[in-house]
Symmetry: D2
Subunit: 352 residues, 4 copies
Amino acid sequence: MIRVGIIGATGYAGGELVRILLNHKDAKIVWYGSRSYIDKKYYQVYQNMFQLVEDICKDDNLEELAKQVDVIFTATPQGFLAGLLTEEILSQVKIVDLSADYRIKDVATYEKWYGIEHKSPQFIEEAVYGLCEINRDKITEKTRLVANPGCYTTCSILTAYPMVKEGMIDVNTLIVDAKSGTSGAGRGAKVPNLFCEVNENMKAYGVASHRHTPEIEEQLGYAGNCQVTINFTPHLVPMNRGILATEYATLKRKPDGTLPTYEEVKAVYDKYYANEKFVRVLDKGSCPETKWVEGSNYVDINFVIDERTGRIIMMGALDNLVKGAAGQAVQNMNLLFGLPESEGLELVPCFP
Amino acid sequence: MIRVGIIGATGYAGGELVRILLNHKDAKIVWYGSRSYIDKKYYQVYQNMFQLVEDICKDDNLEELAKQVDVIFTATPQGFLAGLLTEEILSQVKIVDLSADYRIKDVATYEKWYGIEHKSPQFIEEAVYGLCEINRDKITEKTRLVANPGCYTTCSILTAYPMVKEGMIDVNTLIVDAKSGTSGAGRGAKVPNLFCEVNENMKAYGVASHRHTPEIEEQLGYAGNCQVTINFTPHLVPMNRGILATEYATLKRKPDGTLPTYEEVKAVYDKYYANEKFVRVLDKGSCPETKWVEGSNYVDINFVIDERTGRIIMMGALDNLVKGAAGQAVQNMNLLFGLPESEGLELVPCFP
Amino acid sequence: MIRVGIIGATGYAGGELVRILLNHKDAKIVWYGSRSYIDKKYYQVYQNMFQLVEDICKDDNLEELAKQVDVIFTATPQGFLAGLLTEEILSQVKIVDLSADYRIKDVATYEKWYGIEHKSPQFIEEAVYGLCEINRDKITEKTRLVANPGCYTTCSILTAYPMVKEGMIDVNTLIVDAKSGTSGAGRGAKVPNLFCEVNENMKAYGVASHRHTPEIEEQLGYAGNCQVTINFTPHLVPMNRGILATEYATLKRKPDGTLPTYEEVKAVYDKYYANEKFVRVLDKGSCPETKWVEGSNYVDINFVIDERTGRIIMMGALDNLVKGAAGQAVQNMNLLFGLPESEGLELVPCFP
Amino acid sequence: MIRVGIIGATGYAGGELVRILLNHKDAKIVWYGSRSYIDKKYYQVYQNMFQLVEDICKDDNLEELAKQVDVIFTATPQGFLAGLLTEEILSQVKIVDLSADYRIKDVATYEKWYGIEHKSPQFIEEAVYGLCEINRDKITEKTRLVANPGCYTTCSILTAYPMVKEGMIDVNTLIVDAKSGTSGAGRGAKVPNLFCEVNENMKAYGVASHRHTPEIEEQLGYAGNCQVTINFTPHLVPMNRGILATEYATLKRKPDGTLPTYEEVKAVYDKYYANEKFVRVLDKGSCPETKWVEGSNYVDINFVIDERTGRIIMMGALDNLVKGAAGQAVQNMNLLFGLPESEGLELVPCFP
């Protein structure tokens, strides 16, 4: 039985880790870390856990925790883990970090977009970017530190990945227009996240400046083996869960000047995803809907080729708290411990 | 492996049966019945099931179905099963009926409130009212026909049951003010159920005339061993899932003229529910919230004693599609086949 | 032109006052008071007011304000106005107080339910309870201080008033089960009011202890000329605006032992409301819906007589920010200045 | 007093026409046309109109109606008006058509995208495209037929118009990613529009094939005096009202190779909109939110220049039923009768 510690267990991603791990047959949470609710029963913070979790919330003591568990999930603000991580800790425990601290390989890029100094850049190289479908072979029992991808980035990257990898699109025409449910904004008590401010409303935010942009660019750059600069625009939608990414790019034409056909593009997607349990490329003509993946670890993807403009419109949908956070973190944990990748993640999407 | 057939598999309750049974280790759905979508892939109706269910929808052939499966769930309109059920069918297969056809023992009451003739009253006596927590001992491997309780009724009855059973309240003062999410209205294409009609709106409906009234009255009458006549008022709430019942009744005073204390009432609730997995009586001061049980088979219950008015306010919350329909149906199936009652129902509530 | 000052202009009720008064032809807001946003442009707090309001937010200086305006609306926390009000202020300006400070005539009751000391009880007697339909003749150009009723109370009282006034019901059987949209919880940044906590959720709160209880009891007591003790249970509903009150009471039987008929009860409602512009008693069989009054100053009311239980179920719906707060406040202002009562309030409900 | 007839008065756009015209001091609705509800009281269809509208719904008799009114609004399905319009009718009455029948000048384009034959192409040339801010001088007391723009198109065009008109962007890089509330889908009883299907969900639809595409292209083509081919992707959002368009285009560089500055672009927007009452270009850094324009005739617009990609991201928000339909139709009516353009449209956005 894998002993699990969670730091940030009372945020939405932390709560989702608990929901998923309670049904994981090889893992057991032994430390519910929550600086805000120390000594409070966990179920008093999340009453859905009444009679399911009897533990109390503990302080964020990373050193102590490292001695007691096999893996730590940090669902914490940016900079938290980077400020505390040491070689000694990493020598004792595996860490799956749900923050952005070790996602971006270039420290300067991290510091520019996040506006904070990185306190432990020495671990960045070691950290594996935990997008399982792409980096699976790098996430092994020897891996110590996994940088769990962001919610928007998971969706944005997986939706476009095969096309970039196979050089089917002009990557610098890529525009990602993404829409997210409000749980992505976290559980902080802020006026813009109040029910009455979000409900019956929609807006873009972080236009041309959202921090997930360089993460998408870096990963797609690896895929395409080139420099990638994109537009990424997130939007806030009045729903709890779900991210939908609508992505636009100019298709590269074939030598005869024609566009690739539906079948040719589909074959590219199938090449990468036909055997992926958690990526579902939908039937022709079906557009992904966030509700169809709610509560599950799936990413639903599809595309339309527009003959008029020569562009491909790619669409991806996932549950930002599952495949976009806690589900993927558990998927990474499974890989780290040599378990079946889908253990604990056989979650059937909940509709309606 | 129990072979399962569902008639009405493309309604919301039917869809929820599929969601739950896909993770049930002793049952397998072999017949997805849906008159409206015959020959269509099931996942094309509920795209969340893409790559999870490959079956096509079949016609509602009860006789044929009875030969192929061990248990049939009928998630069908009132009168459907009553119009088709025969001794021959019942001799071949167990049936869990999610409609109201066999819930009410008095045919005249059924016919009056439902406005239709009952076509097979000869099976009413045999049918067991499948409120597992109360009738568990009557639902055995010998049982052939279970009348799965209504969503409002399950919530309304369980919330007040211990108080009625122990004679703590004047049952004829009982008022049930219930609020339901919109999935309770079904998947029929009707203007009042359109998003724009329901969203940002709230209303009572079926005032003094809702069909779940006699069902609640009958069951509470059995509990209290008396005639019960109540007010039951359902309301439509702009959310997908969840029922909240707020119930009011005058407490019987003790011989010394005082009201029972919190501890005395709590002891009564504990007597019936302390060992019930799916009924959670909350800590003092916590009010049930529908979100805390969403996606799970729990009923959350609590109460407040109002010294000023001498009344008790009882509150119960459940997910209308789970404990209020499909979950309870599976709970009944488990009892019918001698399985652990919670098999397939270890569903952790999903928040947010 | 009436010069208006608002203290608490950046709360939801304050914002609604601005929305309504901008289209009031005899009033002009000259002071946007908001302690939290001093010196900020009002439209930067409520961007809907961009290009409509150029004023900046000012501090809450009641004394100074009293010299500059004809009427002050205080949309402030309980205790604020009571702590500042003086005879000198009242000699200079009229005040419509949207808080509870002067609603309850008995200081002890106020202090018990609100848990704070009342700092200026000397003005309580003078204050008129501004439920216009009932106290219209007391709200005149001589009135200096109006206690604007609470949102729940306006709905709860108006729904039952004719029945209580005419002695048609046993008032001590009255149970008010009320449901409110989330704007009633205000704009404070609190976790329970976050989108993800409220959306897809429903709960009761303040059970047997909500502060609007004594206010309802006092006013219905005046109407019935008797002591009234009721159960009042508020619920939080995932919508922005709207209150629905479902009220239950035992009908008094006629000398012949029969219940009053629909027509007899309707006549009682018509006696009080047939000429009231803002109270609409619906056609037989129609249940009030909050959406049908959204954005307007209407209260929609109807009732059903349940022959089985001898009870009447009364239902009322209003927009908590309009008739439940700002709209009624403007209605009071109109009376205070001898204007047509509906000036500025010809708001057509907005659907969908 | 302008006598108004509405055909399609019981759809959502028709209902909004009624809401707006009830407060229009120079117009009076004398014909509530609704084929589906003939002889039913209008308020029984839209109960918000109880005591406000006593009229009954009448059949869609265009010829008869033409004799009785000064202006007809047709809020009807595509092809309806085209199938009935005659010179005789147009010689008697002005028509503001809210359908697409006369929006597109090229019949072939209309027939291709709408898939129906145009029955009266002879009136297309005469029809004025009623985007008031752009075609104001063509909508005069002599105009007989106005093609009221679509909801998506109004938002999409106005957001990009100044940039296209002044040649600031490469129009063929224009991508419009639009999101709409559900009232845009109309009041038809269809499963995909049910509350439980839309709520907590988001999807794209009509990808690369939505009918508003050629309308946007045609109008922007006139503005830029060139052929325009764009990507337009609509999305369904779980809210009642509101459209948000996020638009991407490559900025043309200045002769020195630099991008235009914020101030330069702002000056271009101001050139066209500084004096437009209903177009609000927000302060730098503010992103339009649909809630800030709800219930009003405003379009809120802003933009961000992305130095990294050389693109401009333009954003526009409007209420699809007001500026996107009924409000703009009334704005057109005002122009047709020489009234102040904003008569009846001084609607303050409603928040929250």
